[in-house]
Symmetry: C2
Subunit: 878 residues, 2 copies
Amino acid sequence: MTAQKRIYEFGNGKAEGNAGMKALLGGKGANLAEMAGMGLPVPPGFTITTQTCADWYDAGNRMPEGLMDGVRAAVAGVEAQLGRQFGGARPLLFSVRSGAAASMPGMMDTVLNLGLNAQTVEALATETGNPRFAWDSYRRFITMYADVVSGVERKLFEHEFNAAKKRAGVTRDSDLTADQLKQVCAAMKVVYLKQEHEEFPQDPWTQLERAVEAVFRSWNNMRAIEYRRLNRIHGLLGTAVNIQAMVFGNLNEESGTGVGFTRDPSTGENEFFCDVLFNAQGEDVVAGLRTPEHLDALKQRMPEVHAQLMQARQTLEQHYRDMQDIEFTIQDGKLYLLQTRNGKRTARAALRIALALVDEKLLTREQALLKIDASSLNQLLHPMFDPKAKVQVIASGIPASPGAAKGAAVFTPDEAERRAARGQSVILVREETSPEDIKGMAAAAGILTARGGRTSHAAVVARQMGKTCVAGCSSIHIDEHAGIFQAGAITVRQGDAISLNGATGEVMLGDVPTVPPELSGDFRTVMQWSDELRRLGVRANADVPRDALKAREFGAEGIGLCRTEHMFFDSDRINKMREMILAKTLEQKQHALAKLLPMQRADFLGLFAAMDGLPVTIRLLDPPLHEFLPQDPSTQQIIADQLDVSLKTVQDTVANLHELNPMLGLRGCRLGIEQPLIYDMQVQAIIEAMLEAEQQGVRVLAEIMIPLVGTIEELRWLRRRIEEQLNQFNLHHGSRLAPKIGTMIEVPRAALTADKIATEADFFSFGTNDLTQMTLGVSRDDAEKGFLIDYVVRGIFPTDPFATLDREGVGKLVDMGVKLGRGVKPGLKVGICGEHGGDPESIEFCHEVGMDYVSCSPFRVPIARLAAAQAAIKHGKA
Amino acid sequence: MTAQKRIYEFGNGKAEGNAGMKALLGGKGANLAEMAGMGLPVPPGFTITTQTCADWYDAGNRMPEGLMDGVRAAVAGVEAQLGRQFGGARPLLFSVRSGAAASMPGMMDTVLNLGLNAQTVEALATETGNPRFAWDSYRRFITMYADVVSGVERKLFEHEFNAAKKRAGVTRDSDLTADQLKQVCAAMKVVYLKQEHEEFPQDPWTQLERAVEAVFRSWNNMRAIEYRRLNRIHGLLGTAVNIQAMVFGNLNEESGTGVGFTRDPSTGENEFFCDVLFNAQGEDVVAGLRTPEHLDALKQRMPEVHAQLMQARQTLEQHYRDMQDIEFTIQDGKLYLLQTRNGKRTARAALRIALALVDEKLLTREQALLKIDASSLNQLLHPMFDPKAKVQVIASGIPASPGAAKGAAVFTPDEAERRAARGQSVILVREETSPEDIKGMAAAAGILTARGGRTSHAAVVARQMGKTCVAGCSSIHIDEHAGIFQAGAITVRQGDAISLNGATGEVMLGDVPTVPPELSGDFRTVMQWSDELRRLGVRANADVPRDALKAREFGAEGIGLCRTEHMFFDSDRINKMREMILAKTLEQKQHALAKLLPMQRADFLGLFAAMDGLPVTIRLLDPPLHEFLPQDPSTQQIIADQLDVSLKTVQDTVANLHELNPMLGLRGCRLGIEQPLIYDMQVQAIIEAMLEAEQQGVRVLAEIMIPLVGTIEELRWLRRRIEEQLNQFNLHHGSRLAPKIGTMIEVPRAALTADKIATEADFFSFGTNDLTQMTLGVSRDDAEKGFLIDYVVRGIFPTDPFATLDREGVGKLVDMGVKLGRGVKPGLKVGICGEHGGDPESIEFCHEVGMDYVSCSPFRVPIARLAAAQAAIKHGKA
């Protein structure tokens, strides 16, 4: 095995690394090398690779052989460049910082001024002629080192510092004298000894080695793991370590420190957005003890440095072709750049910047679109809480459906309906929701549940309705009868105002002000470019005309999934459905279904009208029948009374319909075959609505979709039956209705035998929710409250397979299904209608396997349009 | 489209078809052609193809164009050959019979003497000079035609016949005179007119066309569908129709009819097993009104015919190289063969005949093995009810586990144990069984349940234990408290003797005598030949030493699946398991597991000793934990008392463990990762037992198998943990234990990513039960009481996918898994341990995809050995 290169040096206008080496050097290290290579003023230093971090873990937290020798050589290089010595008479000090390939802000800490000890602090004082500065630097070093490397509580050291200020009768840090600071350092060393049972380390090499190991260790602290999980960061080796010569913003009044965005990160406007603090180190900015000054102050005090900074801003933007987030230090009137990276921004700013960079000829349209995080567009479509508002967060749950909702807390669907009818905005708070709650949910501005994950009933229905939802908020305790919930010490009573942030999962007390969404000209431009560049069609999942119209407004090119069962859950219909289920004779069943027929027909008519000229895919009934019956005896009694049957009939039916694994049970096309009257009614409603719509001048492109097909025989049987019904209808009405008849591909066997199934299908639509459940053998509802989260945390699943399609497993089946289907029917239209249809990574996959369209919830349509364009840009349009 | 050939003629020493054309001509038609071609005396005729039947259905029950023209031409050919006329003065009569590619005895009916009417019956009387014969033939024809073609109840006609006999004061059919028979015919025609509102058809062509359609129609009558379902006959086009000139066994005393087996179908001995009835038609034999005579009678009465028949027997056996089941008719001293086919036989006879044919040099060993139905060997391994015994069948359920069991009916597991302890044989009768019943089941000779299918708890456990089980016997009504069950009018009380036939599902009253199994020399020879010829290894699924020893006795070459959870269900252990599950602290959990450790160690030690020198694959805990806790409050209270916890603790735990779809939930390796202490204990027990066994001189080949793996990360994590535990153990004991560590492939994703998973697996074992559930999206337990049976009946599933592996879907995944796994690890050992491992068709598939072994329940080991040899013979050994 050849010794691998673990250390990459930079400085003096040269660098061994560059910006393309983020995986190995981390983002910070790669950009430091890039800037050094560009000739920008960067203090010299070196980066230990991310691979070294991985090796350190693999070796059981042991330093790879030879690493410290390499570090010594690299330190010698910096010493030679600067004419200083690490631990010597002209002391060289280092900053030690972590830096992974993905930005993980605040995840790991930094140690500054490393190399100071009893000797070097004196040498620094002598050299600079500023003992106050030297001792202040030592004070800072001891605090950071103890905290970050040794894990001693920071507040113990801050306590000593504050005590000294109190004794001296001063409030500002800078008012302490050198001698007072020296005493503070001495006191801090005593604290360290007491806590660690050893002297504060004096040997600079010991300091350095331990600091490097602390950075490695920080990669797997709880905070870092949680951050990666929440941000879906996976597949990284570890963190790099950046060791860089210190420059001092706190040396004197000609020194300072600053951070800035090269454009406004909120609006994207082309303004340098920059804060400067004079005579200070970076941590002082973060600590917020002093108010930073603006660029104008710098221009006044150090016009030359200001000009350099403006030049650097331009150089960096031209070089990186993106808005940069930079850190800099001014030491004794000289500018040093300490970091640059692509700056985080709001969706609004992302659009503005991308378009501006195209105008400035720094980017092509294609490059510009790739710079925008498609998921972030979500922000633009919902009202947002005013970022300037002061809020009191009382609990936090799973961000299940985006948006900003606020209103009076209510605990029953009835109360929600009552108050909504009076025009009050309400938040429905439930342990979890069920079909009985639908009307209450529709009446509410937002839904908060104590149980259930992102695919719980509450979450799915809320997303469908476009309602804000925070689910699985397990820290709240609901007492429905008392009409209160507890969140820690706080009690929220019925009628109290609360606010839900569907993007973060936060539950806030009171009526937090919101700002409305603004679909700016930039948004329209980006959508227009996306539409020009993408190959994938984008449809929406919508069950009612209101959603369909919303989707069309957002640019949907059809409905990819209308879930007909949602039409049955309405409280004025569910009893007719129940009547059908409880019926004992065929006649009774037909009688009940006959009542549902005109309602379904009206639903479909509305959808066809809303989507005039665009395809509408209608999925026949999918869920098992037991979902329509209540499980609790009291509601069963109510149903029995309403439908004039015995309680025993209801209970016997519930018992009969009970399945051990309903997910794998009698539903979808199985129900369609075993109880054909239901599909007959639905098909009748569709074709009657088609005829009526056409008579009204609507152009109808209806597609009947059969769910849960596992074998060609199922599809063949149902297709024949539908065709027969259709033929009779056409014969009787002299019409020529010809809806397409296709199938979901959601059972693994359907994908495996897609060459057979395609012979009877006019189209395929991949139902990747169920396909994921069956391919992985994971019940989503169960797993999301159980092992699924843990699996993602442990990295067993790289990401939640219900949020982002599992390429390796499920994706293989999808790819196989597309290829087999098209193999026998080259023009076969193929789409996706699982929730993955709205996830950018999954959309990229759909593009790669050659699907024709994706279908997603209305609010994700713009995301899908952009993501589809990004996929086409990356992989070519064909 | 070229006109297809729909009609194949035979007769006069020539034939258009042959025995190889069964798919098109049906078995009967193909063999008639073959015999005609061989020059055997076969009445001339023709066969309408099975494809025509399919076309008839496809055309909506309409005769294909030109078919009847073809029939007229073929009839003309027969007329020419025989010098007779259909409907003419020397009347030609036909038999019309169905005949599918697979034998479906009694499925469809036959019409004899077709062509008779008011004119031809007189012509026949004149020609034969035997009016009694002519009118008797007409009487038979009317009855058969009315029944088979027109669907008029047969008994209406029999009633007329019997009334006539009564009037005439005779008892034997043949005692009625021609005139009396003529009156019977007239009366029958009146019945026909009354029932059908039309005259009995007089036009022979109408008779013929309608008879052909009746045969087509009979293909899809309920009886035929059910027969095909039960016998797993699928993929056939339809039935052929055989139209053949009548010969008359009832012409005179030099005439007769007979059926026979060329060897004894019970024992296989080389004796012509033949019944003859003089002056009779074939239906008289079946009706059983007259006692047939033996071959000796024929030899005495018609020595020449006897010699011809003996010659025909030899010719047929030499030609078909198998025992034949023949039908013949003697008309006026001349022998005609009407049918030949390979005869059905008992397993014992199958072995005897196959071996004899090898001795007689008619077959090679390979050909001989292919003649044996591997599944039938089951008969030889269990005691059988004496076929000579008179029995009273009181109910019939699903034959869930083979064997013949008898004993006192008991209704509780406790009572079963009590009586068994006193040496009494008992049958445990339950609504359905649960883990609580295990000891009672073990104590019983057989298990009878009113609910549940072939994979219910009762069925699975019974098969595992080798107990006879009849499940899902829904016609019995159990009153556990009263200690009785009702079967129709019969009440069986506790202690009453009943007998269960696990091969047929019959429940019989009383103590039916049995005969013990006899593993004859033939059986040993067949097994020896099989072992020489097969490539696949055969292992057994066994959890306890008793089963392991049984399996070894039957020739198992190792244990392919030891289900460790079964060890926890024993009543003296389940509470320790429960203690572990209910524990609130890690210490309590460890404490409970520590009690289970020595028990598991002893289990494994026993298995290793039983399988000395052979591999033993131990699967770590697979089921979800909720299976160990009772659901009903009263048992929960008992548990709470026994374990000294609150009822609430038990109920909270049950609620916590509840899953909507436990099949896709927290079980298998997921549990191993989320609650690692359980697997730790099991691994500890395995390696301690390995060491102890080796110290006792046992050669241990242990294989640790991890269930439900879906991603490489799961396997990697668990493998690391096991290896670490193993290393520490070896270090501590100075041992060098190295069990193999492999995985089940039972989640579709595992098969799809088998190239990844193989990198961490020493072996693969396909768990095709779960793989089938997930690939098809079918919950077996739910579906078997629901749509699964209906799907098989409708042909949506060609066969029960849990009995015979679904090649097209699941098989594709298995094949992919094997190839991907071997692609990265060429020598990877691959087996199967689902129930398919004991099914001959599935075993053939396992051979084809190149598996190393199959594993099945002990009693199926001999079946698997033979099936493996048959697969190697068909497909080559490599």
